[in-house]
Structure formats: structure tokens, C-alpha cells
Symmetry: C2
């Protein structure tokens, strides 16, 4: 089977390296910028790939919305299947890609968009052969987990820890997509599509960890809680809801003990019960591994066909929890004291919590909010 | 696809219930004892199943060595594929079953033998499409995890907690297979076969938790450790080793925080890195789910073919760790004090630790031993 790789950065190189050890899959073209084309397979001309009938699968590892969107659409319209690690473009165009793939007899394979080497998308699909999935959640971003874990274990504050993550290559020079929760939102939107057959709105409440401090972590630790950035989604009765936000988890929960830059994803199946999947959520070889697993699945005849037309209605009331708002702004109506400078809000929706947090931020830019789920 | 179920206990009923909701798979026969055959599909005569050409797959949920071994061999020799949840019989006859399946064009599907609904066997096979697996481990027994977790959280001692587990149906009337580590040994032997292509010797060091007390748990907790019963296996350089034993894990590790009767299984892949899989390791619907997943895989064309002829040599030196031996017997040579009545043994093999433990038990039947892996 002949394939092309689009983009020869960290992930593209990982794919190339792993494919070299796999029989019957050959990288015949690599798309990169003109000044980076240093070997015979490389070209800056996408036409040489999309118009080449011998190339069966295009492996997109460029990232970003354009030209990735145009190149993926071009491949699918040419009847070529696409393996991609690009969470941003799949979250933004999942329904369009899925419809185009189906219309042209091509497949869209997206394991590497969520959780690096963790078999999360394939596991959702496998579970759904038998079960409905009423809920899913996860630590889906290694950068923010690394920062929180290092702050707890090392005692340094947010800015210093972020700088260390950048030095180690765990965080980008512009860390916004990670620390503001956008990356987790994209992965949550994709998981909702796969698990709920619904084109998830991008307009879900999203709160990151930009205002997290060591003092807030200590405050929650004194209550037996550990803060983690989670993506969560639920469905039921023809409705669904999703959220990205810090959650103050019981310190003895599995999620609270996920170290360093690892990820963990959870789902609930109607007969199988809870399942959790843990591993490296990023990196050249783990993400490359996920893409080569997609290639091997494709070669073995797996043809995932996503249909996001179920049309569940978005209902914020499905995600209701207690929240703790840490702020020097006046307490919201109905709040009770949780700790010094921290207010407990009972039974509010994730959307209401986000609104209250925004109002607090306007008065105190150092405010922080976290959901406070009940202990099992 | 027409199938038969052997044994209509907890798991057999789970399979029947789940298959009822799956298209194109029909349970046409159920084997049970004569006085339990209360509906038209049921028969006490295995001949009616093994000689029925319309039955393509036999789903064995009887447990125990005989007649399960004879029935599985009969089915495979008749060219019928076998789905089984029976860890004891697969651990004892894995190589014979695998050879017979291959010789007769049948398949052996064993997801449900390890970890109930957790996709552990299929995940090992998937990882191995790309990676070598140098090591694997896991909390593979829900009964003992329930007992340890309840002792830690509730404060009751071993006997009382075991009795509660029996009341809840988490432990058998004769709990030996669970608390003495035999069940974990069987699952470890199976995982070694799938991951290392080797017929694992049953003669690995096996230590259970029969002598665990609340006092020992408190002793380890004071050192920041939580005791769990683990199965572990490693390979390298044409050799392998495996062990079942209590391990005193760092209390902030994932494994230390697995609650109740849940299981977690881990592997290390050469490119994907560490992967962990968590879920319900037993129960009617989770285990039934694993068997129906095997049926759906089979129907989709998956034909696992196990070849255990790689012949790795067993080398105890591959599993070397520090150990803590709690005993009122005299300290072994070279031991240093770990705590009151507890001795630290540095760099001993699992086999040596088992021998030292047996020697201590002979003098103090209340002795206890646990591996003490270094913190990451």
C-alpha cells in the first residue's frame, strides 16, 4: 500500500520511522515546504500527491486549519482515505469530512487526533458495537497535566512551571491552545462525534488553567482534592452537553494520580461498565504509532464511517455539579463559604459556572473556578 | 451466525442477554446439567452441539479444567471456533488449544479470560502489530483488590473483609484461587503467551495476600506505600520471567488508587510507550461483553492465531527488586531494618524473595512479603 505524508515535523517523522519497520506500507511522497525538501520523496507540490492514482492513503500531520482542510478535502474527493492527527481541523470540519468521505468511498481515520498513542477512538467505536455510551471524560492534554503535576510535586508556581514545560518541549511558545482549554475542547468535540453520532457545537463552556496558582492547589489539597483539566460529555433522552473545565477531584481517584504529561480517557458503557485508557497523549512515536495503527486497520479492511446526523439537542442542564469559585470579587448569590476567598456554589450547570467565573474575572483577574464532583 | 453456549451460570447468562440485542448472532443451543434444562435451546448432551454443522462458534463459560478441556478440544477438532472466559483451562492448555485450532482452521478467542470487559488481550495483539512488548503487569483480580481497598478504607482486618466480599458475591465460598494468587497466575500465564509468543511455565513464583493484615497495610502506608497484588512479566534477550506477588506501590501511583473490585492492566510498547487499561474485571455483563466482542471480531473476520513456540528461556534474574519481609522469624542474611518487625532485602529476584518468605512462614505463619519497587 502506497501512502503520502503531509508535513514532516515531529509527528510526520514518527510515522515515517515506524512505517519503515512495517511490511507492505510504503511512503512514496512527503509534502513539505520547498526549502525543506531534502530527499527524493519530498515535494512542495500537493498536486503530485492528490493526482497520483497509486497513492491510496494520505497521512496528514501538518496541524492547523489551512491548508490542512483544503488538502484533506482534496484527498477525500479524489477517493483517497485520510489518516490525520490534526484535532483542530477535524473538530472544525468533522461533519464535512465525514460526509465527503462517505460520498467518495473514502475513509477518515482519526485515532491520532485524541490522546496520542492511546487507542481511544477505536475503543469508542468498539464499545459502540454493543453498548450505548452515556458519558465520557478525560485528561486529554499532556501539557496542562504536566504543569499541574509539576506545580503539586515541585511547589513552583504557574509561570515558572509553564516556562519549564516550554524548555522540555511539552508546551508551545504560544501555550494558549493548551492552557486555555482549546486543545481539550477540540478533542472533546471529536469524541462527542464518535460516541454520540452528533456534530458537537464548538460553543461549549471552556475554562482553562491560566489563573491556577500553587495557593489554589494547596487550598483544594487541604480539602482532599486535586485539580485536573478535564473534558467531559454526557447524553441522554435525545440531548447532550459537553464542557472543558478544571475539576477538583478526590485525591485518591485515578485521574488525580495521572503523572507528568500522560493522558487518561474514560467512558461508561451500558453493559461493559466504566473503561479507562491511559498512555502518552503526544510525542513523535506515540502519535506516529496511532497513525500507523490506523493505516494497519485500513489495510485490514476497517472502514470507519462517521455519521454525525443524529442531531441531539444541546442541553446545559445535563451537566450540573457543585463548583468552587476562588475570587476576591463579591460572592455570587446563593454561594456559601468553602474556604478563605473560596465560595461553594451548589447544583449549577457548567454554563452557569462559566458565566459566574467570567463575572468574577472582570473584577478579579486572579479568580479561579473548579467543579467539585461528589466523592463516589 | 449460529452459536452454542456451554454453561448457563453468571457469564453464560450475560452472553445470552447481550447477544439477544445483536443482529445476526443466534444462540441455538445451551449446554447445562439435565435438571437445569428448562427451555428448548437447552441440552445436557454435548454431542448435539459438537456434531451440529450449523453451529460455527462454541462459547465456553463453564470454568474449571474438565469437562471444559475435553469440550474445547472437541469443538476445535470439529473445526468450530471457541470463545472462552475460562482462565484456568486456557492457562493449563494454551499451547495445545492453539495448535489444535491452527490444525483445524478454527480460532481460539480468549478476551474474557483476563480482566472481564477490559480489552486487554485484543490490545496486546494490536500493540504487537507494531511494537515489541518488553514488560506487562496488572491488578488482574477484583476480589483481592476489593479486599485490600476495603481494608485500607474501612479499617477492618482480612478475615472480616473477606467475609464481606463473600456476602457481596465478590469472593467464592472457597477463596483460595483468588487470595493465594492462582487466578492472577493463570491470567499472567495467558498474557505471557499472547505478548511473548511463549508457553509460559506454570511454575512461576506465586505469593497471595492470605497473611495480609491491617497492621501490615498501616506499616507500608507510613512509608507512603499501598500494597496491591500484581501479576508481572518481562522479556529480553531471548529470556523471560513472570511473578505474582504483593507489591508495595508508591501511594500516588495509578495502581495504588484502583478502587473496589476494578482491574488495571499495563504494558510497555517500544514505540507507543506505556499503555494502561482499566475496568470491571469480572461480572455477568462485563465478561459477557468481552465474549460478544470476540464473537463480533470473529464475524468481522478476525482470526487470532497463537503460536507459543518461540521458546524463550525462563530466567529469574530478569525480575529483581527490593523486598520487605514482615516476620517475627530471624532476619535473613543481608537484610536491613525497614520498620519494626520488617526487613528490607535489596536486589533479590522474585524467586529468592519467595524462598525467603517460605522460610519465614515456616517459623512465623503470620509473615508477609511485598516487593518494593523504586519510585519513578
Amino acid at each position: 500500500m502506497k501512502i503520502a505524508i503531509l508535513g514532516y515535523g515531529t509527528v510526520g517523522r514518527g510515522v515515517d520511522q515506524i512505517v519503515a519497520g512495517v511490511e507492505d506500507i510504503e511512503v512514496v511522497r512527503i509534502l513539505d515546504l520547498p526549502d525543506r525538501c531534502v530527499e527524493g520523496r519530498m515535494t512542495p507540490d500537493y498536486g503530485l500527491i492528490v493526482d497520483d492514482p497509486q497513492i491510496e492513503v494520505v497521512v496528514e500531520c501538518m496541524g492547523g486549519l489551512e491548508p490542512a482542510h483544503t488538502f484533506i478535502m482534496g484527498a477525500l474527493e479524489a477517493g483517497k482515505s485520510v489518516v490525520t492527527s490534526n484535532k483542530a481541523v477535524v473538530a472544525a470540519f468533522f461533519d464535512e469530512f465525514a460526509r465527503t468521505a462517505t460520498a467518495h468511498g473514502a475513509s477518515l481515520l482519526i485515532e491520532a487526533t485524541c490522546g496520542g498513542g492511546i487507542p481511544w477512538i477505536a475503543s469508542i467505536e468498539k464499545v459502540r458495537r454493543i453498548d450505548e455510551i452515556p458519558s465520557l471524560s478525560g485528561i486529554m492534554n499532556g501539557t496542562t497535566n504536566f504543569i499541574v503535576d509539576a506545580m503539586i510535586k515541585g511547589g513552583a508556581d504557574f509561570g515558572e512551571t509553564l516556562a519549564r514545560a516550554q524548555e522540555l518541549g511539552y508546551a508551545e511558545a504560544d501555550p494558549s491552545a493548551d492552557i486555555d482549554g482549546i486543545d481539550v475542547r477540540n478533542k472533546t468535540v471529536i469524541a462527542v462525534g464518535v460516541a454520540f453520532d452528533t456534530a458537537c457545537t464548538p460553543d461549549i463552556p471552556v475554562t482553562g488553567i491560566r489563573t491556577l496558582t500553587k495557593a489554589y492547589l494547596d487550598l483544594f489539597a487541604a480539602h482532599g482534592r486535586t485539580v485536573k483539566l478535564l473534558g467531559r460529555a454526557v447524553q441522554g433522552g435525545g440531548r447532550y452537553a459537553a464542557v472543558v473545565e478544571p475539576v477538583a477531584l478526590p485525591s485518591r481517584s485515578l485521574e488525580a494520580n495521572v503523572p507528568s504529561n500522560f493522558n487518561i480517557m474514560s467512558l461508561e458503557g451500558s453493559t461493559v461498565g466504566p473503561l479507562k485508557f491511559y498512555g502518552q497523549g503526544a510525542g513523535s512515536l506515540p502519535t506516529g504509532n496511532a497513525m500507523v495503527q490506523d493505516l494497519l486497520d485500513y489495510r485490514a479492511g476497517r472502514r470507519p464511517a462517521y455519521d454525525l446526523s443524529r442531531g441531539l439537542a444541546y442541553d446545559p442542564a445535563l451537566l450540573t455539579d457543585d463548583y468552587v469559585l476562588c475570587t476576591s470579587a463579591p460572592a455570587p448569590e446563593g454561594a456559601v463559604a468553602y474556604d478563605e476567598g473560596a465560595w461553594l456554589l451548589r447544583d449549577v450547570t457548567a454554563s452557569q459556572a462559566r458565566e459566574l467565573f467570567e463575572a468574577a474575572l472582570a473584577q478579579d483577574p486572579a479568580s479561579f473556578v473548579a467543579a467539585l464532583p461528589q466523592e463516589d
